[in-house]
């Protein structure tokens, strides 16, 4: 048992073992394994020099619950009434928050100063199973239900001589210290250069490798290097810095590439010089000019910081960012999602000076179906396991940080079974004024201190940035997994907020992809240089090489820039708040990024080359329209049956079992939550969050995502998703921007592209040209929509390699774009929810319905795609939205729900059960469209609204021919839909609600 002492926690026999029961139930429902009774226990292995009595007393007082628990100290539970057991420990180096918290408890209990920053107490869980299970079943339970082999160590035990016993595994990190720096020869053949890039996970292509080689051939650079004691060859640290800085993840090389585009459908050819500059920045530049023309000056900072910044109120800025964390979530769903959300929280926190107060989280998730039954490829996790892990990661990441998850969306498609998409968004507020200076700027001068605050550095997350820039395969590096610690981050973020309030921080940024290499490398562009001393960086355990310290993506760290005379006060505050703060270097103006270890240089790179030396990529795009046709469906459809099926289908059904696991109202400011109405069943369009307790000003948040439309038309998919995000905000009572001078109605978009590998290669990616063409079309739609609606893109992200390759098979995601939008709400009390409010109200559909069932949820019930994808008519849409705004200004609309997946029928049903009311309508006003189209077409820019009967005239005058009267809200809870007097649907609301509620149970 070496030097470890143990404390094992058992529930008293009269206490219900909720965790054990949950495991038994999951084994049964997900794996079809009958485990019998399951008992859960916890084990702590303590590696401090303590007496047996001290550990006994610590266990009794600080670990054991006096009412529910019993403990065993230095003795392991060896039950006789169970047949087998699985112990789940962490692998070496994996964050063990529970162990760390126990360490803090020990320090408090004994009132002694012990090292709590490195791991001395290790926690693990042990489950005992009543039934005899074979090795294969135990393996399956361990890997699918209890843990993940990438981060967990499993110990299996079966009954021997009447009892179960085993030695506990302790994940002590044991590495020999190796702080050598290696020089790497780049005078190699092309083939060897590519091989080097691959074996070192540099993710650089041949042209980029050659550009690096040429830098080291340059005589001017050599002189400078030898002055600093470096040879003419690059060090491992330099190559790693270049690889991180030039990674697709950080440099967006494909969005900055030259694309030769040919549209075979129209005959058009063009050369696009950077999708980003042409369409995204191009759109924003045009929008800003249009806003300025109208004296709307709320855009403050776009693209150049961790998050976009707009002016929210007279003295507050709104800062927000949405990004993806797909690759890490594919490998370790819980860890990937939690680091995704925590990492994204650090973006607003590290924008401008820093210290924004976080207001909300939002997340959009794309998964394979939970019932996926294809054989799993090597390294591929089951979609259900990915979904459950990601959801718990978001739950812990948001809940434990005290940031409400105010809305989101979940999309299912088999093509997300390899790589899920995990979009995390966070909005925050910061004061406009920072002690007399602009808070959104990042001033840095020669001599300013480089400080790191928060968590320590380990091997976790090394190569995250480069790894996410290539497709996942069965050889993906284990060290790419990052493990989040919400409590560490909460302490760091509390510290940042107070430090900024006190004016102690000059500016800051977060440590995400690329670690210190990226955060310091980018900040150093402001002063034009930096010197970093890596031996000062606090480590989780010894044994890291200098380059590993510099590029590690260990989480929960902020890089702070401070003036030297503020350091003492800042350090005192950090000590008080128990946040580790370390001085690791100085900013300079030498034009060089210098990295030292024990006073010897391990890297010296020219700032200009580092940031601007990457060669521009060239890509090919060719568009050919797919051959598609509309299906012929039976003419005698049973619409009661179809509507029930549709309500329960994966992309329409209730997300309640996910939503309720997220705290969506901490901070007490959430006004429109994901589920509203008398029973909390009404799904909403946009979320509304109040800015403070002293005003009713608020912010609306929405998400538009429609990947399946892209199978027919990528332009319309992108334009449609844009419209979806806009109309959700209009539906809840928002107003379009720039319709009046100086109205202060800000809008801000985060665009997030997630596409399969779109770089053509005849062997490995033969359809790359079409994928690239889709990307161009998505960008064209973005430009057209943003400039038409005058909505700026303030920040965004592109994730370009969403492919999962193993065993010779490739699973690629469909080209996906998410538009996340936020906008100012003048008075949250005037916002509108989706559920019907009272019987007798009149029901209308606003906006024109077309025969557009292509890629609809209705067609997918029949396994059909169709051809008539919904088209966006942006001019018509804008006119309608202005009318809706006018109606809302007069308080004429009682409920409003935008029409999306499932079309009109589904929207009517949701508004009815949401308000615990019924609805009686006739679709005659929609004219001579086919009945299927009237019911289920997903035509854009439409709403189902209800109004008070006494407002009929005023409402109809305002909305004109865009309002189609359908019928009334009824007290009887029945959904009755007719078409020209003929019965179509007649169902109890309760039956529809049940079908909707039972479609997805987590």
């Amino acid at each position: 048992m070496s030097s470890y002492q143990t404390i094992q926690v058992l529930l008293n026999s009269n206490i219900r073992d909720v965790k054990g029961q949950k495991v038994a139930q999951k084994c049964q429902t997900q794996l079809n394994i009958e485990t019998g009774k399951v008992q859960s226990t916890k084990l702590y292995s303590v590696n401090y020099a303590l007496s047996n009595d001290q550990v006994q007393a610590f266990g009794e007082h600080c670990i054991k619950d006096q009412v529910t628990d019993n403990i065993l100290v230095n003795e392991l539970y060896q039950p006789t009434d169970y047949a087998c057991a699985i112990a789940i420990a962490k692998l070496p180096g994996v964050t063990d928050d529970e162990g760390t918290s126990a360490q803090m408890a020990l320090a408090d209990f004994l009132n002694i100063d012990i090292d709590v920053n490195t791991q001395h107490i290790f926690s693990q869980e042990i489950y005992f199973f009543q039934n005899e299970l074979n090795a294969q079943q135990l393996q399956l339970i361990a890997k699918r239900i209890l843990g993940n082999p990438l981060i967990n160590h499993f110990t299996f035990a079966t009954k021997e001589e009447g009892k179960i016993s085993f030695a506990p595994y302790v994940p002590k990190v044991q590495m020999t210290v190796d702080d050598t720096t290696e020089y790497i020869d780049l005078e190699l053949s092309d083939e060897e250069l590519i091989h080097l890039s691959k074996t070192k996970v540099l993710a650089l292509n041949l042209a980029e490798m050659k550009a690096v080689r040429d830098y080291y051939r340059n005589e001017d650079n050599l002189e400078q290097r030898s002055a600093l004691g470096l040879s003419k060859q690059p060090t491992d640290c330099e190559l790693e810095i270049l690889a991180q800085t030039w990674s697709e993840h950080c440099k967006h090389k494909e969005f900055n590439a030259v694309i030769n585009y040919e549209n075979k459908e129209t005959g058009e050819t063009k050369k696009v010089n950077s999708l980003f500059k042409t369409y995204i920045k191009g759109a924003t530049d045009k929008v800003m000019a249009s806003l300025t023309d109208n004296n709307n000056d709320w855009v403050v900072k776009v693209f150049t910081d961790n998050a976009g910044v707009v002016k929210a109120t007279k003295d507050k800025l709104f800062v927000w960012k949405v990004e993806t964390h797909n690759s890490p979530s594919a490998l370790d769903p819980y860890g990937g999602a939690i680091t995704g959300i925590l990492g994204n929280n650090r973006d607003p926190l590290g924008t401008g000076v820093g210290g924004a107060k976080l207001l909300f989280n939002t997340n959009v998730l794309c998964f394979g179906p939970p019932s996926y039954d294809k054989p799993l490829l090597s390294g591929q996790l089951h979609p259900r396991q990915i979904m459950e892990g990601v959801v718990s990661g978001i739950e812990d990441g948001g809940n434990k940080s005290g940031v409400p998850t105010v809305n989101g969306s979940v999309v299912f498609d088999e093509r997300y079974a390899g790589k899920p998409l995990v979009y995390c968004g966070t909005g925050g507020l910061m004061d406009y004024d920072y002690h007399g200076a602009p808070s959104w700027e990042k001033p840095i001068d020669d001599g300013d201190m480089i400080l790191v605050a928060g968590g320590r550095v380990g091997k976790d997350g090394i190569h995250g940035a480069t790894f996410s820039s290539i497709e996942i395969d069965e050889h993906s590096p284990m060290s790419a997994v990052q493990i989040g610690s919400p409590i560490t981050q909460k302490k760091a973020s509390d510290f940042m907020i107070i430090a900024c309030q006190k004016g102690l921080v000059k500016c800051s940024t977060d440590n995400g992809a690329g670690g210190l290499s990226s955060s310091i490398g980018e900040l150093a562009t402001i002063s034009n240089g930096a010197v970093v001393h890596l031996e000062k960086v606090p480590l989780k355990y010894s044994g890291l090489k200098p380059w590993e310290i510099f590029v590690s993506e260990s989480q929960e760290r902020m890089t702070i820039v401070a003036e030297q005379d503020k350091y003492e006060e800042l350090a005192a505050l950090a000590k008080l708040m128990e946040v580790e703060l370390t001085d690791i270097g100085r900013f300079t103006n030498t034009g060089v990024l210098e990295v030292c270890y024990n006073n010897k240089h391990v890297a010296a790179l020219d700032m200009e080359f580092l940031h601007d030396g990457v060669p521009q990529k060239i890509m090919e795009a060719v568009w050919e329209k797919p051959e598609l046709h509309e299906p012929e469906l039976a003419t005698d459809l049973d619409y009661n049956k179809i509507l029930l099926q549709l309500m329960g289908s994966l992309n329409i059904c209730s997300r309640e079992s996910i939503i309720r696991q997220y705290d969506h109202e901490v901070k007490g400011k959430t006004i429109i939550k994901p589920l509203m109405g008398p029973e909390g069943k009404a799904p909403q369009d946009a979320a509304i969050v109040r800015i403070g307790f002293d005003s009713y000003e608020g912010i609306a948040v929405s998400n538009g995502i429609l990947p399946r439309y892209g199978d027919i038309d990528a332009y319309q998919m992108s334009a449609g998703a844009f419209d979806e995000a806009v109309r959700q905000i209009i539906s809840t009572g928002g107003s379009l921007p720039n319709t009046q001078e100086k109205d202060g109605i800000f809008w801000s978009i985060n665009d997030n592209f997630c596409v399969p590998d779109s770089d053509y290669n005849a062997e490995t990616n033969p359809d790359g040209k079409i994928k690239c063409a889709k990307l161009v079309q998505m960008c064209e739609a973005l430009y057209d929509m943003a400039t038409y609606f005058d909505i700026p893109l303030t920040s965004g992200k592109d994730s370009m390699k969403n492919d999962f390759k193993a065993d010779g098979v490739k699973i690629s995601v469909p080209a996906t774009i998410l538009y996340s939008m936020s906008s100012k709400i003048q008075d949250v009390r005037k916002t509108i929810t989706s559920e019907f409010k009272a019987a007798g109200d009149l029901v209308y559909v606003l906006g024109t319905t077309y025969d557009e069932l292509g890629a609809s949820e209705f067609y997918s019930l029949f396994g059909e795609l169709g051809a008539n994808v919904p088209l966006v008519h942006k001019e018509v849409a804008k006119t309608l939205y202005k009318k809706v705004m006018a109606a809302n200004a007069k308080g004429l609309i009682s409920s409003s729900h935008d029409i999306s997946d499932g079309g009109l029928a589904v929207t009517l049903v949701e508004s009815a059960f949401g308000g615990q009311l019924g609805v009686d309508v006739d679709l005659a006003s929609l004219g001579d469209l086919p009945l299927n189209a009237k019911l289920f077409s997903e035509s854009h820019s439409r709403f189902v609204v209800s109004i008070r009967p006494e407002d009929k005239e005023a409402f109809e005058v305002l909305l004109g021919d865009q309002a189609y009267y359908l019928g009334t809200v009824t007290a009887a809870t029945q959904v009755n839909i007719q078409d020209k007097g003929a019965a179509v649907v007649d169902l109890p609301v309760q039956e529809l609600l049940e079908s909707w509620s039972n479609g997805l149970i987590l």
Partner: protein
């Protein structure tokens, strides 16, 4: 003026809305990091009401509120005594303590609630919800007749959000259970809309014994509850505000959770007036 102290740090995250609640109720409120007390010797005795807000102190590790309770019981302050000793003095001085959600879990684990034995030993526990998961949902709460705490004065049935994974009350033994009932310390219970107590999920969201949502100590000065009154300061926090306002357009724009804070602030103000 009535002064409320709101504690924060180590993962507490509802301190701002708690402070806002006191301000809306007419009191002065300060948010103070716990280490101001533990390291700098900040004096709590200048305040009338001490508040442990919700959140995830130490990430709910070991058990919710456990590590913080441990700190409060055992860590030595600059004064040489423990924080719990200060708390005893605070309560003996006739002052008030409120714990919400994670704050309630702390109070229970450090023995401030229900404290029948007056020994500040843990007598009940708040354990994993029967659903086995964290849940955010709105529930109805019923205030028991003859309840002892001024926090709940004049309130009958009202809705509040719960947001927790460990809220199921478990009482150590039958004798304690009977005493809790006799002394009417189970002052707040989960109920249906009409006010009938219920053990049925989800109206009772966690399977709590006695359908209990909140407890007071025998003096009524210490009160803890799982639901979040500070998250219902405005009518517009309620998930059904749309229909509520439609039915009653002139309804107050205050949320019903605010009443708890108004109650205690008024009560303390009255006590202070008498003292003067």
């Amino acid at each position: 003026m009535v002064k409320a102290l709101v504690l924060t740090g180590f993962g507490i995250n509802c301190e701002e809305e708690m402070a806002a609640a006191y301000k809306l109720a007419g009191a002065h409120a300060d948010i103070v990091h716990l280490n101001e007390i533990f390291i700098n010797g900040f004096d709590i005795h200048n305040y009338d009401i001490l508040n442990f807000p919700g959140g995830f102190s130490f990430g709910d590790d070991i058990a919710s509120g456990k590590v913080m309770a441990n700190k409060i019981k055992y860590k030595t302050l600059p004064s040489g005594q423990t924080f719990i000793a200060e708390l005893k003095q605070f309560i003996q001085a006739g002052k008030y303590v409120l714990g919400v959600c994670n704050g309630f879990q702390m109070l229970v684990r450090m023995g401030l609630l229900p404290n029948l034995g007056e020994q500040f030993e843990q007598e009940v526990s708040l354990s994993h919800n029967n659903s086995g998961r964290f849940e955010d949902r709105w529930v109805y709460c019923k205030v028991s007749e003859d309840c002892k705490t001024p926090f709940l004065k004049g309130i009958d049935v009202f809705p509040l959000p719960i947001r927790h994974g460990e809220g199921k009350l478990i009482i150590k033994n039958e004798e304690l259970r009977n005493t809790i009932i006799e002394q009417k310390l189970n002052c707040l219970s989960y109920c249906t809309a009409d006010g009938s107590l219920t053990s049925d999920y989800p109206a009772n969201p966690n399977g709590s014994d006695l359908d209990c949502a909140g407890l007071s100590d025998p003096t009524g000065q210490v009160f803890g509850l799982m639901p979040h009154p500070e998250a219902f300061l405005s009518l517009y926090n309620h998930p059904n505000w749309g229909q509520i306002k439609r039915k009653n357009p002139s309804i107050s724009e205050d949320g019903e959770g605010l009443n708890i804070f108004k109650n205690i602030v008024a009560h303390v103000a009255q006590e202070k007036a008498i003292e003067v």
